[in-house]
C-alpha cells in the first residue's frame, strides 16, 4: 500500500461559485487580541492532537489568564481537560480557597497532587533548604502527577520574557520519558505549525502564553476583569523580615526561633509557598495601581540590574531536570 505511482496522481478541482466574498477592508485587531488569538490557537491545536492534555494550574496571575483563554478557546463547550495543581501544602490559604472556589465556579475538573511521601517524611524548606524542598515537593511531585495521569501534554503559563533560558524555549517543549528538557535538541518551530508527535512515555509541555509579557498579563486581567487571588493587592499583614525578605506569617508555626512579627502593608508580586515567597511593601490595592507600580519597577530593575550569568545557567540546568 502507499505505492502510488506517478500515473496515479489525481487532483480535485473545485467549481468556483459565482459569489464573491466581501471586498477586503483593512481589518485590524490590537496586540492584546492578537496575542489572545495566538494562545487560543495553541490551546485548540494541542487539545485536538494530544490524547491526554492537562493544564498546570498554579493559581497565579498567569494561570488565571491561561484559564480564561481556555474558556474562550472551547466556548460554548467546557474546558476539555483537567487542571492540575501541585500542592506543596505550604501554599497560602487564600490560594487554596481561591483555587477550589474558582474551579467550581467555571465547572473545571481539578486534580490536586501532593508528594505525600516526602511530606510524611517531614519535607520542609527549613530543614532541606529551598532547592531540595522544591525538588521534592514541586519537580518530583509534578513528574509523578503527570506520569500517574498518563498525561501526554501539559499546558504551562510560562512566558518567554521571564528569564533568559525561557527566551529560547519552544511553544511545544518536548520532554523525554524522564520529563527532561534538552535545550540543545529542540524541535525547530516554524509558523504556527506544531509537531505533536511523541512516543510512549514522552510528553510535551505547551506554553500558550509564550509571547506574553508581564505587562500584557496585567493589562489583560484588567481588560477582561479576570479574578485573581487577593494576595496580589496590598493589605496589612503580619510579617517577619527574614534574610532581607518580607515573609508573611500566618501563625506562630511560621516563625523561626527569635523572630517577631510586625504589621505591614504589603502585596505579592508572584505567588508560591508561604515560607519562600517574599512580599513587597506596596500600597497598590487596585489594578491600575499595580500596573503603575509594575512599570516603575521595570525602570528600577533596569537601572539596578546586575546581569547574573550564573543564575541564568542554573535555571537552564533546573529545567533540563524537568522543572517547569
Amino acid at each position: 500500500m502507499g505505492e502510488t505511482s506517478k500515473e496515479a496522481v489525481n487532483t480535485t478541482t473545485i467549481n468556483g461559485g459565482g459569489e464573491r466574498a466581501a471586498l477586503l477592508t483593512p481589518q485590524k485587531i490590537n496586540y492584546l487580541r492578537a496575542l489572545e488569538a495566538e494562545s487560543i490557537h495553541i490551546l485548540r491545536e494541542a487539545v485536538a492532537e494530544f490524547a491526554r492534555p492537562v493544564m498546570l494550574y498554579s493559581i497565579g496571575k498567569d494561570s488565571s489568564v491561561m484559564l480564561r483563554l481556555a474558556q474562550k478557546a472551547f466556548y460554548p463547550g467546557k474546558i476539555p481537560f483537567p487542571l492540575l495543581h501541585i500542592d506543596t501544602s505550604y501554599k497560602f490559604p487564600e490560594m487554596v480557597e481561591f483555587r477550589d472556589r474558582y474551579a467550581r465556579e467555571i465547572g473545571a475538573e481539578l486534580i490536586v497532587h501532593k508528594n505525600q511521601e516526602a511530606l510524611d517524611a517531614g519535607a520542609n524548606p527549613f530543614v532541606l533548604g529551598t532547592q531540595k524542598c522544591c525538588g521534592l515537593l514541586k519537580t518530583k511531585s509534578l513528574l509523578d502527577a503527570l506520569a500517574e495521569g498518563d498525561f501526554t501534554a501539559a499546558f504551562g503559563g510560562a512566558r518567554r520574557d521571564e528569564e533568559k533560558s525561557r527566551a529560547k524555549e519552544r511553544v511545544y517543549s518536548f520532554r523525554d520519558s524522564f520529563g527532561q528538557w534538552d535545550p540543545k535538541n529542540q524541535r525547530p518551530e516554524l509558523w504556527n505549525i506544531f509537531n505533536s508527535r511523541i512516543n510512549k512515555g514522552e510528553s510535551i509541555r505547551v506554553f500558550p502564553l509564550s509571547n506574553w509579557t508581564e505587562a500584557d498579563v496585567w493589562f489583560y486581567i484588567y481588560l477582561e476583569n479576570i479574578p485573581i487571588v487577593p494576595l496580589y493587592f496590598a493589605k496589612e499583614h503580619n510579617v517577619v523580615i527574614r534574610g532581607g525578605s518580607i515573609v508573611v506569617a500566618y501563625d506562630k508555626w511560621d516563625l523561626l526561633p527569635g523572630e517577631k512579627t510586625q504589621r505591614m502593608v504589603v502585596r505579592m508580586r508572584s505567588l508560591g509557598c508561604v515560607p519562600c515567597t517574599g512580599a513587597i511593601r506596596s500600597t497598590a490595592d487596585t489594578l491600575p495601581k499595580i500596573i503603575e507600580e509594575m512599570i516603575s519597577f521595570r525602570r528600577s530593575e533596569r537601572e539596578n540590574r546586575v546581569i547574573d550569568h550564573d543564575e541564568e545557567g542554573s535555571m537552564e540546568i533546573k529545567k533540563r531536570e524537568g522543572y517547569f
Binding site: 540543545k184 505549525i193 503603575e292
Partner: protein, 576 residues
C-alpha cells in the same frame, strides 16, 4: 471576587486606551558575528523602555528621571560570545518590547552553526527582517544569505541597518555606496520593501534618538521606522481560508467549527464550500466567548456555525466558493532541511499542513540553492541546512495556495514518522496538477493503482480483528459503512484465519476495510495478520474499549480516521 472597582487613578483610563490601540509587529534580526546585533538589540530594549515610561510620565504629568549611565547594551541580550563560553544553547531567542505606538516581538537568530535553521524559524512569523551590515565590511556573502532567507520566507519588509557608522566618520558617501550595493541585491532577490538606515548601535545614533553626527540623513530613526512601517499582510486577500482545527460539540444542539482565519473576511450569511467534500453552505454565526462577532479575519481564531449539517472535521477546510485553493496531491515546494540525516529517496514522511497531517514522499530533487552565490546546483538529496526545490506527492490531497499568496496555507513541516523529529519546512511554489492534466493521459488503459482507489474511497485499506464479539463486529461494519468507508465484515466461520491470510492481499488491493470476527486467535496468528496489514492492523483486544458496543464502535471509528488522514499526538478523535 474582582477588585477592579477603583479605575480612576493617574489618568489610567487614557493610558489604557492608548495602549489598546497598539498593534503587534514581529521582526527577526540577522547579522554576522560582531556586526553589532547584540548591541543594537540591547540598546533598543533599553532605550525603548524609556520611551514607554515617558508615555506613562506624560499621562501622570510628571517627569521620570531617566538615568543615562554607561551600560554595556550587549549584556541585556545574550551576547553570543557569553553563550558560547558558558556552553549555553545557541538558538533562536525571543525578546519583547513596546513603545506607545506598538508592541514588538523580536526573534533573535544567532549566526554561525545552524544558521539557516535558526533564521528560517525566526523569519517564518516575521513581518520585518532587520539585516545588519557592518559599514567597515560592506555587503558580504552572509548578507546575501540572510537576505535570501528573508525573501524565501516571505518577509514583506526589510530594514537594513548600516551599523558602526562612527567607525567610518559618519560618512554619507560610505552609506550611499552600501545602500546601492544592497539595493542591487534586493532587486536580484525581488525583496519588495527595503529601507536603509545608517546607525551606530554603540553610540546610539539613529537607533532611538537621532543624534548629531549624521545631519545629512533625513529618514526615520531605526525605532521610528519600526513604529510606523505598515504591518503588511503578505497578501491582502479576500479568499476565505478557514482550516477546521477542532469541532466543538458540547451537546446535541450545538456544533461549532473552531479554527484560525488564515485569510479573507468571514461574515454571517457568507457562502462557503467545505473541502474535501465540496459541500456548499453558509456561515450562520461567528461564536465567541464574548458574544457573536459580526466578522472574523486574520489573525483571529474563532468558532463558526453553519446553516447546514455537513460532514466536517479536523483537517477539512472552509473556503470561499469564488476563490477556492488548489487541491492536489502533487506539488513543488522549496524545502529547508534541518536534520543531520539527509533526505532519503523514496522515504515516506509525515507532512503537516494547516490542521492536516498526511504521508508524503519527495519524488524528485530539482535543485539546491547555494545560499552564498544563489546558484542552483543539481542534487539527489538535501543535507542539513540545505535549501532545495523538491517535487512532492502526498497520499491524500492538500488544499493549499502558493506560499507567496498565503503563508498559512502555503507552508508545511516534515516529520520523521519514526523519530518524530521535525526534519524540514516547506513553502509550496506550484501545483503540478495542471501540468499533469495537460500531458496526454498515459493512464487511460493502465491498471488501476492503489493510489487511485485511495482517491476514490478516501481511505486506506485495513484489517480490524474482533475476537468473540460478533455483535460488535456487525455494529462496526454498520458504523463504518455509514461513515462512507468501503467495509466488509468477514466471519471466521466462513473464512478461517489461514484462508484470510491468503485472501487479505486481494481485499487490500481492492481498498477494503475488513472487519474480521473470530474466536480467540493465537499470538502466532496475530503476528501473521499483523504483518499482512502492517500499520493498518487493528487488534481490538489490545484496546481498552468501553463496555457499551455503541461507545466502543464510536471509539474505534475515531481511531480509524487515521486511515484517512494521519493524526498526531496519539489522539485519533477530534470531535468532542
Amino acid at each position: 471576587m474582582s477588585l477592579v472597582a477603583n479605575r480612576e487613578a493617574w489618568g489610567f483610563e487614557s493610558f489604557m486606551k492608548q495602549n489598546l490601540e497598539k498593534d503587534l509587529l514581529r521582526l527577526t534580526t540577522a547579522g554576522s558575528v560582531d556586526d553589532g546585533k547584540s548591541t543594537l538589540i540591547g540598546r533598543l530594549l533599553h532605550d525603548s523602555k524609556s520611551v514607554f515610561e515617558d508615555q506613562l510620565a506624560a499621562v501622570k504629568k510628571s517627569r521620570i528621571n531617566r538615568s543615562t549611565g554607561a551600560v554595556d547594551f550587549s549584556l541585556l541580550t545574550d551576547g553570543l560570545r557569553a553563550e558560547r563560553e558558558q556552553g549555553i544553547t545557541i538558538d533562536v531567542a525571543y525578546r519583547y518590547f513596546e513603545t506607545p505606538l506598538r508592541k514588538f516581538i523580536i526573534a533573535d537568530t544567532p549566526g554561525h552553526e545552524q544558521y539557516t535553521r535558526n533564521m528560517a524559524t525566526g523569519a517564518s512569523t516575521a513581518n520585518l527582517a532587520v539585516i545588519l551590515i557592518d559599514s567597515t565590511k560592506g555587503v558580504l556573502a552572509q548578507t546575501r544569505r540572510h537576505t535570501y532567507i528573508a525573501s524565501l520566507l516571505g518577509i514583506p519588509n526589510v530594514l537594513v541597518a548600516i551599523n558602526k557608522m562612527d567607525l567610518v566618520n559618519y560618512s554619507e558617501e560610505v552609506f550611499l555606496t552600501l545602500q546601492k550595493d544592497f539595493d542591487a541585491l534586493a532587486k536580484q532577490l525581488a525583496v519588495p520593501h527595503v529601507v536603509t538606515i545608517p546607525i551606530s548601535a554603540l553610540a546610539g545614533d539613529n537607533v532611538v534618538e537621532r543624534g548629531v553626527h549624521m545631519p545629512w540623513y533625513h529618514g526615520p530613526t531605526f525605532l521610528e521606522h519600526l513604529e510606523t512601517v505598515p504591518i503588511r499582510m503578505e497578501t491582502p486577500s479576500d479568499a476565505v481560508r478557514f482550516p477546521v482545527q477542532y469541532v466543538i460539540r458540547p451537546d446535541a444542539s450545538f456544533r461549532g467549527f473552531a479554527g484560525p482565519v488564515a485569510s479573507g473576511v468571514i461574515r454571517p450569511g457568507d457562502p462557503v464550500v467545505s473541502l474535501p467534500s465540496e459541500r456548499k453552505t453558509r456561515v450562520k454565526s461567528i461564536v465567541t466567548f464574548d458574544g457573536d462577532a459580526p466578522e472574523a479575519f486574520p489573525p483571529m481564531s474563532v468558532t463558526l456555525t453553519l446553516e447546514d449539517e455537513i460532514d466536517l472535521s479536523r483537517g477539512d477546510m472552509l473556503v470561499s466558493p469564488a476563490h477556492p485553493p488548489r487541491a492536489s496531491r502533487h506539488f513543488d515546494a522549496m524545502v529547508v532541511w534541518f536534520n543531520a540525516e539527509p533526505t532519503e529517496p523514496g522515504k515516506s514522511y509525515l507532512l503537516k499542513h494547516t490542521t492536516r497531517t498526511v504521508r508524503a514522499k519527495a519524488l524528485q530533487f530539482r535543485y539546491r540553492v547555494n545560499v552564498n552565490t544563489l546558484a542552483h546546483e543539481p542534487v539527489s538529496s538535501l543535507h542539513m541546512n540545505d535549501i532545495g526545490y523538491v517535487e512532492f506527492e502526498t497520499v491524500s490531497p492538500l488544499f493549499f495556495d502558493p506560499y507567496t499568496e498565503n503563508r498559512i496555507t502555503g507552508s508545511f513541516i516534515l516529520i520523521d514518522p519514526i523519530s518524530n523529529a521535525t526534519l524540514g519546512a516547506g513553502m509550496i511554489r506550484a501545483d503540478l496538477a495542471d501540468q499533469t492534466a495537460a500531458e496526454p493521459s498515459t493512464k487511460e488503459f493502465a491498471p488501476v493503482t492503489a493510489g487511485e482507489r485511495y482517491m476514490r474511497h478516501g481511505h486506506m485499506p485495513a484489517l480490524i480483528v474482533v475476537e468473540g464479539n460478533i455483535a460488535l463486529a456487525t455494529r462496526l461494519e454498520r458504523a463504518l459503512f455509514d461513515e462512507h468507508f468501503e467495509v466488509l465484515h468477514v466471519s471466521g466461520d466462513a473464512l478461517p484465519v489461514s484462508a484470510l491470510e491468503n485472501q487479505f492481499a486481494a481485499f487490500a488491493s481492492a481498498g477494503l476495510v475488513v472487519v474480521y470476527s473470530c474466536a480467540a486467535l493465537s499470538p502466532g496468528e496475530k503476528r501473521k495478520l499483523g504483518n499482512l496489514a502492517a500499520d493498518r492492523y487493528f487488534d481490538l483486544s489490545a484496546l481498552q474499549l468501553p463496555a457499551e458496543e455503541i461507545d466502543a464502535a464510536r471509539q474505534i471509528l475515531a481511531l480509524l480516521q487515521s486511515l484517512r488522514v494521519v493524526v498526531d499526538g496519539g489522539n485519533p478523535g477530534n470531535v468532542i
